[in-house]
Protein backbone atom coordinates (compact mmCIF):
# COMPACT_ATOMS: atom_id res chain seq x y z
CA UNK A 1 0.00 0.00 0.00
CA UNK A 2 1.43 3.37 -0.83
CA UNK A 3 -1.03 5.27 1.36
CA UNK A 4 -0.31 8.75 2.62
CA UNK A 5 1.78 7.58 5.51
CA UNK A 6 4.56 9.73 6.87
CA UNK A 7 7.76 9.05 5.05
CA UNK A 8 10.77 9.41 7.32
CA UNK A 9 12.02 12.37 5.33
CA UNK A 10 15.24 10.65 4.35
CA UNK A 11 13.92 9.42 1.04
CA UNK A 12 15.90 10.97 -1.81
CA UNK A 13 12.64 11.63 -3.64
CA UNK A 14 11.46 13.51 -0.55
CA UNK A 15 7.89 13.70 0.69
CA UNK A 16 5.14 11.15 0.67
CA UNK A 17 5.22 10.52 -3.04
CA UNK A 18 4.42 7.25 -4.75
CA UNK A 19 6.70 4.44 -3.63
CA UNK A 20 8.66 2.12 -5.89
CA UNK A 21 7.03 -1.31 -6.14
CA UNK A 22 8.98 -4.52 -5.66
CA UNK A 23 8.23 -7.84 -7.40
CA UNK A 24 9.94 -11.04 -6.29
CA UNK A 25 10.14 -13.65 -9.03
CA UNK A 26 11.19 -17.15 -8.06
CA UNK A 27 11.10 -20.58 -9.62
CA UNK A 28 9.02 -21.56 -6.59
CA UNK A 29 5.82 -20.00 -5.25
CA UNK A 30 6.62 -20.61 -1.57
CA UNK A 31 10.13 -19.13 -2.00
CA UNK A 32 8.75 -15.93 -3.54
CA UNK A 33 6.03 -15.63 -0.88
CA UNK A 34 8.41 -16.26 2.01
CA UNK A 35 11.05 -13.84 0.78
CA UNK A 36 8.33 -11.20 0.33
CA UNK A 37 7.13 -11.79 3.92
CA UNK A 38 10.71 -11.65 5.22
CA UNK A 39 11.49 -8.40 3.42
CA UNK A 40 8.24 -6.73 4.49
CA UNK A 41 8.77 -7.91 8.06
CA UNK A 42 12.30 -6.52 8.16
CA UNK A 43 11.23 -3.22 6.62
CA UNK A 44 9.60 -2.39 9.96
CA UNK A 45 6.91 0.20 10.53
CA UNK A 46 6.13 3.36 8.62
CA UNK A 47 5.36 3.62 4.97
CA UNK A 48 5.50 0.26 3.28
CA UNK A 49 6.45 -0.13 -0.33
CA UNK A 50 4.07 -2.36 -2.27
CA UNK A 51 5.57 -5.85 -2.60
CA UNK A 52 4.25 -8.77 -4.64
CA UNK A 53 5.45 -12.33 -5.05
CA UNK A 54 5.36 -14.07 -8.44
CA UNK A 55 6.70 -17.56 -7.96
CA UNK A 56 6.17 -20.87 -9.69
CA UNK A 57 3.53 -21.68 -12.27
CA UNK A 58 -0.17 -20.81 -11.90
CA UNK A 59 -0.94 -24.44 -10.97
CA UNK A 60 1.54 -24.31 -8.11
CA UNK A 61 4.40 -26.15 -9.83
CA UNK A 62 8.04 -25.13 -10.13
CA UNK A 63 8.76 -22.74 -12.98
CA UNK A 64 7.99 -19.21 -14.05
CA UNK A 65 4.78 -17.65 -15.25
CA UNK A 66 4.79 -14.56 -17.44
CA UNK A 67 1.18 -13.95 -16.40
CA UNK A 68 1.92 -14.03 -12.68
CA UNK A 69 4.88 -11.69 -13.18
CA UNK A 70 2.91 -9.21 -15.29
CA UNK A 71 0.02 -9.28 -12.86
CA UNK A 72 2.30 -8.75 -9.85
CA UNK A 73 4.11 -5.86 -11.53
CA UNK A 74 0.83 -4.12 -12.33
CA UNK A 75 -0.39 -4.67 -8.79
CA UNK A 76 2.58 -2.87 -7.20
CA UNK A 77 2.92 -0.14 -9.82
CA UNK A 78 2.26 3.26 -8.22
CA UNK A 79 3.88 5.21 -11.00
CA UNK A 80 7.33 5.40 -9.38
CA UNK A 81 8.72 2.35 -11.13
CA UNK A 82 8.85 -1.34 -10.30
CA UNK A 83 11.97 -3.25 -9.25
CA UNK A 84 11.90 -6.91 -10.28
CA UNK A 85 14.21 -9.26 -8.40
CA UNK A 86 14.66 -12.78 -9.73
CA UNK A 87 16.27 -15.99 -8.53
CA UNK A 88 17.45 -18.25 -11.34
CA UNK A 89 16.93 -19.92 -14.70
CA UNK A 90 13.57 -19.23 -16.26
CA UNK A 91 12.83 -16.48 -13.71
CA UNK A 92 15.71 -14.44 -15.12
CA UNK A 93 14.99 -15.26 -18.75
CA UNK A 94 11.25 -14.67 -18.53
CA UNK A 95 11.64 -11.20 -16.99
CA UNK A 96 14.33 -10.32 -19.55
CA UNK A 97 12.13 -11.50 -22.42
CA UNK A 98 9.15 -9.54 -21.07
CA UNK A 99 11.26 -6.38 -20.74
CA UNK A 100 12.67 -6.81 -24.24
CA UNK A 101 9.17 -6.85 -25.67
CA UNK A 102 8.29 -3.63 -23.95
CA UNK A 103 4.51 -3.59 -23.70
CA UNK A 104 3.53 -6.15 -21.07
CA UNK A 105 5.22 -4.81 -17.97
CA UNK A 106 4.34 -1.35 -16.62
CA UNK A 107 6.37 1.64 -17.69
CA UNK A 108 9.40 1.97 -15.43
CA UNK A 109 9.70 -1.75 -14.67
CA UNK A 110 13.32 -2.80 -14.26
CA UNK A 111 15.18 -6.06 -13.72
CA UNK A 112 17.44 -5.49 -10.73
CA UNK A 113 20.69 -7.43 -10.64
CA UNK A 114 20.89 -8.51 -7.01
CA UNK A 115 21.04 -11.56 -4.77
CA UNK A 116 17.46 -12.68 -4.27
CA UNK A 117 16.95 -12.72 -0.50
CA UNK A 118 19.41 -10.05 0.63
CA UNK A 119 18.54 -7.88 -2.36
CA UNK A 120 14.83 -8.17 -1.63
CA UNK A 121 15.31 -6.95 1.93
CA UNK A 122 17.47 -4.03 0.77
CA UNK A 123 14.99 -3.13 -1.98
CA UNK A 124 11.91 -3.20 0.25
CA UNK A 125 13.59 -1.25 3.04
CA UNK A 126 14.85 1.49 0.71
CA UNK A 127 11.64 1.61 -1.32
CA UNK A 128 9.63 1.88 1.90
CA UNK A 129 11.81 4.84 2.92
CA UNK A 130 10.79 6.62 -0.28
CA UNK A 131 13.92 6.03 -2.36
CA UNK A 132 13.57 6.27 -6.13
CA UNK A 133 14.06 3.34 -8.50
CA UNK A 134 17.77 4.04 -9.10
CA UNK A 135 18.45 4.10 -5.37
CA UNK A 136 16.37 0.97 -4.76
CA UNK A 137 18.24 -0.88 -7.54
CA UNK A 138 21.61 0.33 -6.23
CA UNK A 139 20.82 -0.76 -2.66
CA UNK A 140 19.70 -4.19 -3.82
CA UNK A 141 22.77 -4.61 -6.02
CA UNK A 142 25.07 -3.58 -3.17
CA UNK A 143 23.91 -6.69 -1.33
CA UNK A 144 26.32 -8.61 -3.60
CA UNK A 145 29.17 -7.01 -1.68
CA UNK A 146 27.91 -8.13 1.69
CA UNK A 147 30.48 -10.84 2.46
CA UNK A 148 29.71 -13.49 5.05
CA UNK A 149 33.20 -14.63 5.83
Amino acid sequence: MSGGGEVSGQGPAGGAQALVGVVLVSHSGPVAESVAALAVGLAGGGAKAPVAAAGGTPDGGLGTSAELITEAARRVDRGAGVALLVDLGSAVLTVKALLAEGDELPEGARLVDAPFVEGAVAAVVTASAGADLDAVAAAAGEAYGYRKE
Binding site: G63, E67, G89, L93, A97, E101
Partner: protein
Protein backbone atom coordinates in the same frame (compact mmCIF):
# COMPACT_ATOMS: atom_id res chain seq x y z
CA UNK B 1 17.45 -21.81 -52.66
CA UNK B 2 14.26 -21.60 -54.72
CA UNK B 3 12.26 -18.41 -54.91
CA UNK B 4 9.14 -19.87 -53.28
CA UNK B 5 6.91 -17.31 -51.63
CA UNK B 6 5.87 -18.35 -48.14
CA UNK B 7 2.51 -17.07 -46.88
CA UNK B 8 0.81 -17.01 -43.47
CA UNK B 9 -0.79 -20.41 -44.10
CA UNK B 10 2.67 -21.91 -44.59
CA UNK B 11 3.75 -20.57 -41.20
CA UNK B 12 0.61 -21.92 -39.53
CA UNK B 13 1.41 -25.32 -41.05
CA UNK B 14 4.97 -25.01 -39.73
CA UNK B 15 3.78 -24.35 -36.18
CA UNK B 16 1.28 -27.24 -36.41
CA UNK B 17 3.96 -29.62 -37.71
CA UNK B 18 6.35 -28.46 -34.98
CA UNK B 19 3.71 -29.14 -32.33
CA UNK B 20 3.11 -32.62 -33.76
CA UNK B 21 6.86 -33.39 -33.80
CA UNK B 22 7.21 -32.22 -30.21
CA UNK B 23 4.23 -34.36 -29.22
CA UNK B 24 5.84 -37.39 -30.82
CA UNK B 25 9.20 -36.73 -29.18
CA UNK B 26 8.05 -35.30 -25.84
CA UNK B 27 9.05 -38.36 -23.90
CA UNK B 28 12.53 -38.36 -25.42
CA UNK B 29 12.96 -34.64 -24.70
CA UNK B 30 12.01 -35.14 -21.06
CA UNK B 31 14.31 -38.15 -20.84
CA UNK B 32 17.24 -36.11 -22.16
CA UNK B 33 16.32 -33.35 -19.72
CA UNK B 34 16.17 -35.73 -16.78
CA UNK B 35 19.81 -36.63 -17.42
CA UNK B 36 21.15 -33.07 -17.15
CA UNK B 37 18.20 -30.77 -16.45
CA UNK B 38 15.00 -30.76 -14.44
CA UNK B 39 13.03 -33.29 -16.49
CA UNK B 40 10.36 -30.95 -17.77
CA UNK B 41 11.46 -30.01 -21.28
CA UNK B 42 9.10 -32.38 -23.11
CA UNK B 43 6.00 -31.43 -21.14
CA UNK B 44 6.86 -27.72 -21.18
CA UNK B 45 7.34 -27.67 -24.94
CA UNK B 46 4.20 -29.75 -25.46
CA UNK B 47 2.14 -27.32 -23.40
CA UNK B 48 3.63 -24.31 -25.20
CA UNK B 49 3.21 -25.55 -28.74
CA UNK B 50 -0.28 -26.93 -28.03
CA UNK B 51 -1.24 -23.40 -26.94
CA UNK B 52 0.36 -21.97 -30.10
CA UNK B 53 -1.62 -24.33 -32.36
CA UNK B 54 -4.85 -23.60 -30.53
CA UNK B 55 -4.28 -19.88 -30.98
CA UNK B 56 -3.27 -19.87 -34.65
CA UNK B 57 -6.16 -22.16 -35.52
CA UNK B 58 -8.73 -20.10 -33.61
CA UNK B 59 -7.53 -16.79 -35.02
CA UNK B 60 -5.11 -17.30 -37.89
CA UNK B 61 -2.87 -14.21 -38.09
CA UNK B 62 -2.82 -12.56 -41.51
CA UNK B 63 0.91 -12.42 -42.25
CA UNK B 64 3.97 -14.64 -41.73
CA UNK B 65 5.40 -12.09 -39.31
CA UNK B 66 2.18 -12.00 -37.30
CA UNK B 67 2.04 -15.81 -37.06
CA UNK B 68 5.53 -16.01 -35.58
CA UNK B 69 5.12 -12.95 -33.34
CA UNK B 70 1.89 -14.31 -31.86
CA UNK B 71 3.39 -17.79 -31.51
CA UNK B 72 6.38 -16.37 -29.66
CA UNK B 73 4.20 -14.36 -27.32
CA UNK B 74 2.17 -17.49 -26.60
CA UNK B 75 5.31 -19.52 -25.82
CA UNK B 76 6.62 -16.89 -23.38
CA UNK B 77 3.33 -16.95 -21.51
CA UNK B 78 2.54 -20.66 -21.52
CA UNK B 79 5.73 -22.74 -21.32
CA UNK B 80 6.74 -22.10 -17.70
CA UNK B 81 10.39 -23.07 -18.08
CA UNK B 82 13.45 -21.40 -19.58
CA UNK B 83 12.52 -22.71 -23.03
CA UNK B 84 9.48 -20.36 -23.00
CA UNK B 85 11.37 -17.08 -23.11
CA UNK B 86 14.09 -18.60 -25.32
CA UNK B 87 11.82 -20.06 -28.01
CA UNK B 88 9.42 -17.15 -27.54
CA UNK B 89 12.21 -14.70 -28.25
CA UNK B 90 13.35 -16.74 -31.25
CA UNK B 91 9.92 -16.67 -32.90
CA UNK B 92 8.97 -13.14 -31.90
CA UNK B 93 12.20 -11.61 -33.06
CA UNK B 94 12.01 -13.56 -36.31
CA UNK B 95 8.39 -12.46 -36.75
CA UNK B 96 9.30 -8.84 -36.16
CA UNK B 97 12.12 -9.08 -38.69
CA UNK B 98 9.65 -10.39 -41.30
CA UNK B 99 7.56 -7.24 -40.86
CA UNK B 100 4.03 -7.16 -42.24
CA UNK B 101 4.59 -8.57 -45.71
CA UNK B 102 1.85 -10.95 -46.88
CA UNK B 103 4.49 -13.30 -48.27
CA UNK B 104 8.17 -13.72 -47.61
CA UNK B 105 10.93 -15.43 -49.56
CA UNK B 106 13.04 -18.22 -48.15
CA UNK B 107 15.94 -15.78 -48.11
CA UNK B 108 13.93 -13.31 -46.03
CA UNK B 109 13.04 -16.10 -43.63
CA UNK B 110 16.72 -17.02 -43.35
CA UNK B 111 17.63 -13.42 -42.50
CA UNK B 112 14.72 -13.19 -40.05
CA UNK B 113 15.69 -16.39 -38.28
CA UNK B 114 19.26 -15.10 -38.14
CA UNK B 115 18.01 -12.10 -36.16
CA UNK B 116 15.92 -14.41 -33.97
CA UNK B 117 18.88 -16.67 -33.22
CA UNK B 118 21.05 -13.66 -32.37
CA UNK B 119 18.39 -12.53 -29.90
CA UNK B 120 18.35 -15.98 -28.26
CA UNK B 121 22.13 -15.84 -27.82
CA UNK B 122 21.88 -12.40 -26.29
CA UNK B 123 19.03 -13.34 -23.94
CA UNK B 124 20.80 -16.44 -22.65
CA UNK B 125 24.28 -14.93 -22.81
CA UNK B 126 25.48 -17.99 -24.67
CA UNK B 127 27.43 -18.89 -27.78
CA UNK B 128 27.76 -22.00 -29.94
CA UNK B 129 29.75 -24.66 -28.08
CA UNK B 130 28.03 -23.99 -24.75
CA UNK B 131 25.76 -27.06 -25.20
CA UNK B 132 22.54 -25.12 -25.81
CA UNK B 133 19.87 -24.60 -28.46
CA UNK B 134 22.35 -22.43 -30.34
CA UNK B 135 24.38 -25.49 -31.28
CA UNK B 136 21.45 -26.58 -33.46
CA UNK B 137 20.06 -23.17 -34.40
CA UNK B 138 23.23 -21.53 -35.70
CA UNK B 139 24.11 -24.32 -38.20
CA UNK B 140 20.43 -24.58 -39.17
CA UNK B 141 20.25 -20.93 -40.19
CA UNK B 142 23.49 -21.35 -42.15
CA UNK B 143 21.99 -24.41 -43.86
CA UNK B 144 18.94 -22.42 -44.91
CA UNK B 145 21.14 -20.66 -47.46
CA UNK B 146 21.12 -23.99 -49.34
CA UNK B 147 17.70 -25.53 -48.64
CA UNK B 148 15.16 -26.36 -45.95
CA UNK B 149 16.40 -29.97 -46.03
CA UNK B 150 20.00 -28.83 -45.52
CA UNK B 151 18.88 -26.69 -42.58
CA UNK B 152 17.08 -29.63 -40.97
CA UNK B 153 20.11 -31.88 -41.49
CA UNK B 154 22.47 -29.27 -40.04
CA UNK B 155 20.22 -28.77 -37.01
CA UNK B 156 20.08 -32.51 -36.35
CA UNK B 157 23.83 -32.81 -36.71
CA UNK B 158 24.26 -29.78 -34.46
CA UNK B 159 22.06 -31.33 -31.79
CA UNK B 160 24.14 -34.52 -31.90
CA UNK B 161 27.33 -32.48 -31.67
CA UNK B 162 26.27 -31.39 -28.15
CA UNK B 163 26.84 -34.92 -26.75
CA UNK B 164 30.56 -34.51 -25.99
CA UNK B 165 30.20 -30.86 -24.95
CA UNK B 166 30.52 -29.51 -21.42
CA UNK B 167 27.41 -27.52 -20.47
CA UNK B 168 28.13 -23.85 -19.77
CA UNK B 169 24.58 -22.60 -19.25
CA UNK B 170 21.55 -23.42 -17.15
CA UNK B 171 21.09 -26.12 -14.58
CA UNK B 172 23.21 -28.55 -16.62
CA UNK B 173 26.26 -26.32 -16.07
CA UNK B 174 26.21 -27.14 -12.35
CA UNK B 175 26.99 -30.74 -13.33
CA UNK B 176 30.34 -29.79 -14.84
CA UNK B 177 32.07 -32.82 -16.35
CA UNK B 178 29.03 -34.97 -15.68
CA UNK B 179 27.12 -33.06 -18.36
CA UNK B 180 29.43 -34.61 -20.95
CA UNK B 181 27.96 -37.59 -22.83
CA UNK B 182 24.37 -36.34 -22.90
CA UNK B 183 22.62 -34.66 -25.81
CA UNK B 184 21.27 -31.23 -24.98
CA UNK B 185 17.44 -31.25 -24.80
CA UNK B 186 17.12 -27.68 -26.09
CA UNK B 187 19.31 -28.39 -29.12
CA UNK B 188 17.23 -31.51 -29.71
CA UNK B 189 13.93 -29.61 -29.73
CA UNK B 190 15.50 -26.94 -31.95
CA UNK B 191 16.30 -29.69 -34.46
CA UNK B 192 12.63 -30.75 -34.34
CA UNK B 193 11.58 -27.20 -35.21
CA UNK B 194 13.73 -27.29 -38.35
CA UNK B 195 12.67 -30.84 -39.23
CA UNK B 196 9.08 -29.56 -39.15
CA UNK B 197 10.03 -26.63 -41.40
CA UNK B 198 11.56 -29.00 -43.97
CA UNK B 199 8.51 -31.24 -43.72
CA UNK B 200 6.01 -28.48 -44.56
CA UNK B 201 8.24 -27.12 -47.35
CA UNK B 202 8.36 -30.51 -49.13
Amino acid sequence: MSGTALDAAFFVRWMTAAAAAIDREAERLTELDSAIGDADHGTNMQRGFAAVVKMVEAEPPATPGAVLTAAGRQLISSVGGASGPLYGTLLRRTGKALGDAAQVSAEELRAGLGAGVDAVGKLGGSAPGDKTMLDALVPAVAGLATSFEAAAGAAEEGARSTVPMLAKKGRASYLGERSIGHQDPGATSSALLFAALAEVAR
